[in-house]
């Protein structure tokens, strides 16, 4: 078990690894983050910024922490509270009511919106939506600002961030990881956190652990700034995203591309899907159909077989924690880091029940789980 003053190596400078390193640094550990590119260069800096995950065991902690993050990190994350969901049909409305009831289980409040109320809150949505819901919880933040804020906060606490540094292996002895081997040399450690996003499975493999996770590429578009709405976090049933505080609409959704699990390097290609996204964004916000699209990018997302994270302190090597978020990791990151910190320091998490995120649930997973789900590249090539 690591103790204050001990050395922890965190592999991966995404939201998960950075938050973990930040929590550990706050506890007085000496942390070093090894990142093969730039911090937040992957999914953590490319996502929709949604911070609303009511189904997760880390939901309460996510909701508790976000309103404090700007102060805790010392830099703006652009976090904004609340979420609006819009429905085009009555059946969508019914689903939204169910979501509102689910939130109530956790003591969070949500209310249904009439078309008129919705139109007042979201003028560009046009008058013909069926209605919607207003969540008095959840929110959204700027991913790029947030990852950088984590990084700055880590440095302010004396932690180190080593970028452009690929981790290539581990040194093990006596059932423990004693060092992390990287392009920038070997880093001795008392504990290690593996938070390498879609690559977490590959790195876990080097520790002798089977962690099923597979990458997919998803795309997102950004428009020119529009007049600021009172609440920027607005989803339809087709698209997720937000209006930034600058006024841009940042929206994604729709088909993703499954990638081979082998690391494909740094290429993050986009596709003509930008047109289909544009079509739906214009439909979602008819009042913004004239808005110009300025950018479009893709990010690579990690997914486990059941779509839920793995956050676990391994039985062996017992000073290693592995964490992969299964595509909902940005918003949860403040809470994830807290949980990982607890696992590193105490071997258990006291503020949330992480049992549903254990690796053991995949013990009987067939080897061809990707093929069974059709989670393979579009040309149907195997996943080897």
């Amino acid at each position: 078990m690591a103790v204050p003053g001990g050395d922890v190596v965190v592999i991966g400078g995404g939201a998960t690894g950075l938050s973990a390193a930040w929590w550990l640094a706050r506890e007085g550990l000496r942390v070093v983050v090894l990142e093969r590119g730039l911090v937040g260069w992957e999914a953590s800096g490319r996502n929709g910024g949604g911070c609303t995950h009511p189904f997760s065991p880390l939901f309460r902690e996510e909701q508790r922490l976000w309103p404090q993050m700007d102060d805790l990190l010392g830099h703006p994350t652009e976090w904004r509270p609340n979420r609006i969901v819009m429905a085009d049909t009555e059946s969508e409305l019914a689903e939204m009511e169910a979501d509102c009831r689910a939130a109530a289980r956790d003591g969070f409040h949500a209310e249904m919106l009439t078309p008129q109320q919705l139109h007042e809150l979201v003028p560009i949505a046009g008058p013909d939506k069926a209605g919607g819901a207003f969540w008095h919880f959840g929110g959204h933040a700027n991913p790029q600002r947030t990852v950088q804020a984590y990084a700055w906060a880590i440095q302010a606490l004396g932690g180190r961030i080593v970028q452009h540094t690929d981790v290539t292996g581990f040194e093990l002895s006596g059932g423990r990881v004693t060092a992390v081997v990287s392009a920038a040399g070997t880093f001795g450690c008392d504990a290690v956190v593996v938070a390498a996003g879609p690559q977490t499975g590959v790195l876990a493999g080097w520790l002798g652990v089977h962690l099923p996770v597979t990458p997919a590429r998803a795309e997102i578009i950004v428009t020119e700034p529009l007049p600021l709405m009172a609440h920027g976090g607005i989803n339809s049933t087709e698209l997720y995203g937000r209006q930034t505080l600058r006024g841009n609409l940042v929206y994604g959704g729709g088909p993703h591309e499954w990638l081979p699990p082998a690391d494909l390097g740094r290429d993050r290609p986009t596709t003509p899907l930008v047109r289909n996204l544009a079509k739906r964004l214009a439909r979602m916000f008819p009042g913004a159909a004239h808005a110009r699209v300025l950018r479009h990018w893709a990010g690579v997302i990690e997914n486990t077989p059941d779509g839920r994270p793995v956050i676990e302190r391994l039985p062996e090597p017992d000073n290693a924690v592995v964490a992969t978020m299964s595509s909902v990791g940005f918003g949860l990151s403040p809470a994830t880091g807290h949980a990982i910190c607890d696992l590193v320091l105490r071997g258990r998490c006291d503020f949330a029940d992480l049992r549903s995120l254990r690796l053991a649930r995949f013990a009987n997973l067939p080897a061809d789980w990707r093929e069974r789900r059709g989670w393979v590249p579009p040309d149907g090539t195997g996943t080897a």
Partner: protein, 468 residues
């Protein structure tokens, strides 16, 4: 094996248009390429975005038109005739059976790749004023020309601050230039060309402002024009109609000089339009003498990607001015408050201090981003300051941002990585990008996120079994 129906495996139908050779840009180089390909029997597309939609001209896309277009540009149909008449090779191209598309921009280009396997081949994204569509191609020839190298000073956002390319385009291509009295910035061949072009069109050149201590022979020979050697622009002054004067700073510390003019032509340099090769992933290199970042090309213009050739000014343009020296003098005389990015109102000080944008309120103390020892990365700085994220898509600030980062970090210009280009390569409206039709099943299979029901199951409803 059944593929995930919500994945992109069936998202892209084969395009209805397909070309053996697609040529982007119908200037001299592009027309010649298209004609040569047609003579070989190829099915050829020759696309040129001119005449542009007036909206793009107003946004300084792709050139710095600086609000000096006359209302003539609002009737693109008339502009088509003008362009056709002014470009004899176009008539030849029509006759040769080439599919000539004027007023049609190429805003996207995609190649199948290991991480992008759903594409039905190599694709271009095209758009005109009525809509957007995709076309397939075997070979791509980029003959997109060059765009303006913008330099910054106070008041540079005023109407009347135009680029050398924007100026020449409005004057020659469109016959729609609204200025009368010009001040030209620059001291090399480009500045001399702008002076000559202006005069040949009956415009008055009040002055040339040049960083060099003494004028070039070509500029020295011009009569009836003030030559301000050893000066850089300090501030444009004016009002709603735009520039009424330019104030030039003496780099040796002498009194600033004021020149009455309605237009300032930025003629320090031009930048090869490398956005298509860059988004396609062609290998690039930095060559200050050829306009900065340019694709690595073989003798016949072939890029590192076999199917992409780059010709004409897009491959590189001779440059005889030292951008870093200009930027240094502009910064030394103009100071930190001068905008580095006009769209997002990011000052030089904001940029170098990596300050969060002002709308976030009083930001924390500035700090450099984490990368000790590494060269500053403009993509990184962009994400934090928003410099380059505006509606001109960075065209008015890219090179300035890179030069400022180079100067600030004491590195040569080539040490600063090329900031990523992103599609769409023109800022097009949502409704225009939207396809009229979609592949079968797309609507039905469209999901907001991954279609993994257990992803959204309340964790309390998940049995955790024995290991609990």
């Amino acid at each position: 094996m059944k593929l995930d129906a919500t994945s992109n495996a069936a998202s892209f139908a084969p395009p209805s248009e397909r070309y053996d050779v697609a040529v982007v840009g119908a200037g001299t180089a592009g027309c010649a390429e298209a004609l040569a390909a047609a003579r070989r029997g190829a099915r050829v597309l020759l696309a040129d975005e001119n005449p542009l939609a007036a909206g793009l001209i107003g946004l300084d896309v792709p050139l710095r038109y600086g609000g000096r277009a006359t209302s003539a540009v609002q009737t693109p149909a008339r502009m088509v005739e003008r362009i056709a008449a002014a470009t004899p090779l176009l008539a030849e191209a029509f006759d040769a059976g080439i599919d000539v598309r004027l007023g049609t921009c190429v805003w996207g280009a995609w190649l199948p790749a290991p991480a992008s396997r759903a594409l039905p081949g190599r694709l271009l994204g095209l758009a005109d004023e009525t809509g957007s569509w995709l076309a397939g191609f075997d070979e791509l020839v980029v003959a997109a020309g060059a765009r303006d190298l913008a330099i910054g000073f106070a008041g540079a956002e005023l109407p009347g601050v135009v680029g050398a390319c924007g100026f020449a385009s409005l004057l020659q291509r469109y016959g729609a230039f609204a200025g009368r009295v010009l001040t030209v910035i620059g001291g090399g061949a480009l500045a001399a060309d702008c002076v000559a072009l202006a005069r040949a069109n009956g415009l008055r050149v009040a002055a040339v402002v040049d960083l060099a201590a003494a004028p070039s022979a070509a500029l020295a020979a011009v009569e009836d024009m003030r030559m301000l050697s050893g000066h850089v622009p300090l501030r444009a002054v004016g009002g709603a109609d735009g520039v009424s004067a330019l104030v030039a700073a003496d780099v040796a510390g002498g009194e600033p000089k004021t020149i009455a003019c309605d237009t300032v032509v930025l003629a320090v340099g031009v930048v090869p339009m490398v956005e298509i090769p860059a988004v396609l992933g062609c290998r690039m290199t930095f060559d200050a003498g050829r306009g900065g970042h340019v694709p690595v090309l073989s003798a016949d213009g072939r890029s590192s990607l076999d199917m992409v050739r780059v010709v004409g000014d897009a491959a590189g343009v001779a440059c005889d001015q030292d951008m870093l020296a200009w930027m240094q003098a502009l910064h030394a005389t103009g100071g930190a408050e001068v905008p580095a990015c006009l769209c997002e109102e990011v000052s030089r000080g904001d940029l170098l201090g990596v300050r969060p944008p002002r709308y976030l309120g009083a930001g924390p103390a500035p700090q450099p981003p984490v990368d000790p020892g590494g060269a500053p990365n403009p993509d990184h700085i962009k994400r934090l300051t928003r410099a380059g994220m505006g509606v001109c898509q960075g065209r008015r600030c890219r090179e300035q941002v890179a030069a400022l980062l180079a100067l600030d970090s004491g590195r040569p210009a080539g040490a600063i990585p090329l900031a990523s280009y992103r599609m769409p390569l023109r800022p097009l409206p949502l409704h225009l990008l939207a396809p009229a039709e979609e592949p079968e099943g797309m609507q039905e299979n469209w999901r907001i996120w991954f279609d993994i029901p257990s992803m959204f199951t309340d964790h309390r409803d998940i049995p955790v079994g024995d290991e609990a």
